[in-house]
């Protein structure tokens, strides 16, 4: 009886997972079918197959520029974040000061007050800082990260104080202590944060759309949106599928290779 229930559960889950995979399956099949076949929706077409759509998509869009901008965006945000969250995380984990818990909960407010929600005032701030229509302008609202500070606070707390005390007794200064002792021990936390940050900013759309106006500053998601609206108008669904593949592929490949790392990072992104 019990084994039976489990089997039905697995069967139902298999059916759901198959339905979940259909959009990806269609993307893969349609991107390999050149031209405008009448049965473009078919998941099991007879062919012919070819890579023409990928060549066309690459030619029609500015993918090299979009990749470069997205890499600069994700890399720039992450580089600054790693510094700010390590510093603040350490302060909240190790230093005693009046009002520490209150200031920490003020930090956590940022988990809810995320930049897309504050588009209107954030745009005004960018304009007054002369950062409108620049990549640093897209990055700036993310340089501080409440989630990162929370994660680093937990990470530093899990490191025994003995390590620090031993290093300090050996005459290490604070800078050496952080670089040689704390950061290496905090690496798992930093990696978990890096994965969440990279995924979030690679995929983000509305804020980069609003913060930038010239095509030379567009990132992949913004480029894809204008690219697909053009290709859809011509019913070039194979090219839409190929372009979508270009945007989604890098993270999908990373995810499939480092799946365990990604999943434990995502789970840590729900604050416990």
């Amino acid at each position: 009886m019990r084994a039976d229930g489990r089997l039905w559960g697995l069967l139902a889950a298999s059916a759901a997972a198959l339905v979940w995979a259909v959009p990806f399956a269609w993307m893969a099949v349609a991107s390999l079918r050149p031209g405008v076949p009448p049965d473009i929706a078919s998941l099991t077409p007879a062919g012919p197959f070819g890579l023409g759509n990928f060549a066309d998509a690459w030619k029609n869009g500015s993918f090299p520029l979009w990749y470069l901008n997205t890499l600069l965006l994700c890399g720039g945000i992450l580089a600054v974040q790693l510094v700010t969250i390590s510093m603040a995380g350490y302060a909240f984990a190790r230093l005693d000061f009046p009002g520490r818990d209150l200031i920490f909960s003020l930090f956590l407010l940022q988990l809810l007050l995320i930049p897309p929600l504050l588009i209107v005032p954030n745009l005004a701030t960018l304009v007054s800082l002369h950062l409108y229509d620049t990549l640093p302008g897209i990055m700036a609202p993310y340089f501080a990260s409440a989630f990162g500070v929370f994660l680093m606070r937990q990470t530093f707390r899990a490191i025994p104080r003995d390590f620090e005390e031993a290093a300090m007794l050996d005459g290490a200064g604070v800078a050496v202590l952080i670089r040689r002792v704390l950061l290496p021990l905090a690496r798992p936390g930093l990696v978990a944060f890096a994965i969440v940050s990279l995924t979030a900013h690679w995929n983000e759309f509305l804020w980069p759309l609003m913060a930038v106006s010239s095509p030379k500053n567009q990132v992949l998601t913004v480029g894809l949106a204008s690219f697909t609206s053009g290709a859809e108008a011509g019913s070039a669904w194979g090219i839409v599928a190929a372009g979508t593949f270009f945007v989604a592929a890098p993270l999908l490949v990373l995810f499939l290779v480092f799946q365990r790392r990604f999943i434990s990072s995502f789970v840590s992104s729900g604050i416990k």
Partner: protein, 308 residues
């Protein structure tokens, strides 16, 4: 200072750092300053700024006054009322099915083996692609006539349906995309939560004759309380802040059927250049988000049974 410590360490018995650190503010300020500067510029500052902007009315010839005019206009705007109503339906329509489905999938795929690992991967994958990419794929899925749904439904004899063009169906279609995209994310949390449910408790209940449904209701669900405690606020945040698919697929249409609060704000700011309305709508949305997150967190907290 290090020499002093060394001397202390050599002489005194307990090797602890001096406790008087608490009176030294300099390291605290230096360590927190970079975060605080950016939080000030892009989180706290903007909330104050948008609050003030929303209260400024009648900008004529550089002159302006303070008042509630923007809020009066906002509440009189049928588009805003529709966006708020839609967002309520959208939040319920995305959160309830994706949480139920995520929990069911987590229960079914709880044991780890090669087969369940593959199924989990299939369900989680949509989380990794941008919402605009999902929108691009689903634009084709919902395409009237040649699209994926119509192509296969037609083979089953179902007449053609204009999913995104029908005012009664469009919001449902947008909801379907969100459920497809986020269910895997929530499933990961439930899998992690289920790993913390002690098996001996479940086994004991089984021996006592509790059926699967009873075990779920009386043991598993209460112990998953903390998981719900952060999944529900995350899901609420997603329902209020993820509108990329609305921007690229439906532009809020047809006739406001898929207009959501953040899309309304985007429209006022980027298309109608009505800063006052956009600011007032932002204030209302932020207030709604803060209240709902707090309330849901508290309600779930009250129902939680912590393992003692």
């Amino acid at each position: 200072m290090t020499i002093e410590q060394r001397a202390l360490g050599a002489g005194a018995a307990p090797l602890t750092l001096p406790r008087r650190r608490s009176h030294r503010w300099l390291p605290v300020i230096v360590l927190l300053a970079p975060s605080l500067v950016f939080l000030g510029l892009f989180t706290y500052g903007p909330v104050l700024r948008v609050l003030i902007e929303s209260l400024i009315v009648g900008r004529f010839a550089g002159d302006h006054a303070i008042g509630l005019g923007n809020y009066h206009r906002l509440f009189a705007d049928p588009h805003f009322a529709r966006a708020a109503l839609n967002n309520f339906v959208y939040a319920l329509g995305t959160i309830v099915p994706s949480l139920v489905l995520a929990l069911a999938l987590a229960l079914a795929l709880r044991e780890t083996n090669r087969f369940t690992a593959v199924l989990r991967t299939l369900v989680v994958t949509p989380l990794l692609i941008p919402l605009v990419a999902a929108a691009a794929l689903f634009t084709f899925v919902f395409l009237p006539g040649d699209g994926l749904l119509d192509y296969y439904l037609h083979k089953l004899g179902v007449p053609l349906i204009n999913w995104l063009g029908d005012t009664d169906l469009a919001l449902g279609a947008v909801i379907a995309i969100t459920v497809w995209k986020n269910t895997g994310y929530y499933m990961l949390f439930f899998l992690a939560g289920l790993a913390g449910v002690p098996q001996d408790l479940v086994d004991a209940a089984t021996i006592d004759g509790a059926g699967a449904w009873r075990r779920l209701r009386s043991i598993v669900l209460p112990l998953l309380g903390p998981t719900f405690g952060f999944v529900v606020p995350i899901a609420l945040l997603n329902a209020l802040t993820q509108v990329d698919h609305v921007v690229t697929m439906t532009q809020g249409g047809p006739s406001d059927a898929t207009n959501l609060l953040l899309y309304y704000i985007y429209q006022q700011a980027a298309q109608n250049y009505d800063g006052g309305l956009a600011a007032a709508a932002t204030v209302i949305s932020v207030a709604a988000l803060l209240t709902l997150s707090l309330v849901s967190f508290r309600l779930i907290e009250r129902g939680v049974h912590y393992e003692s």
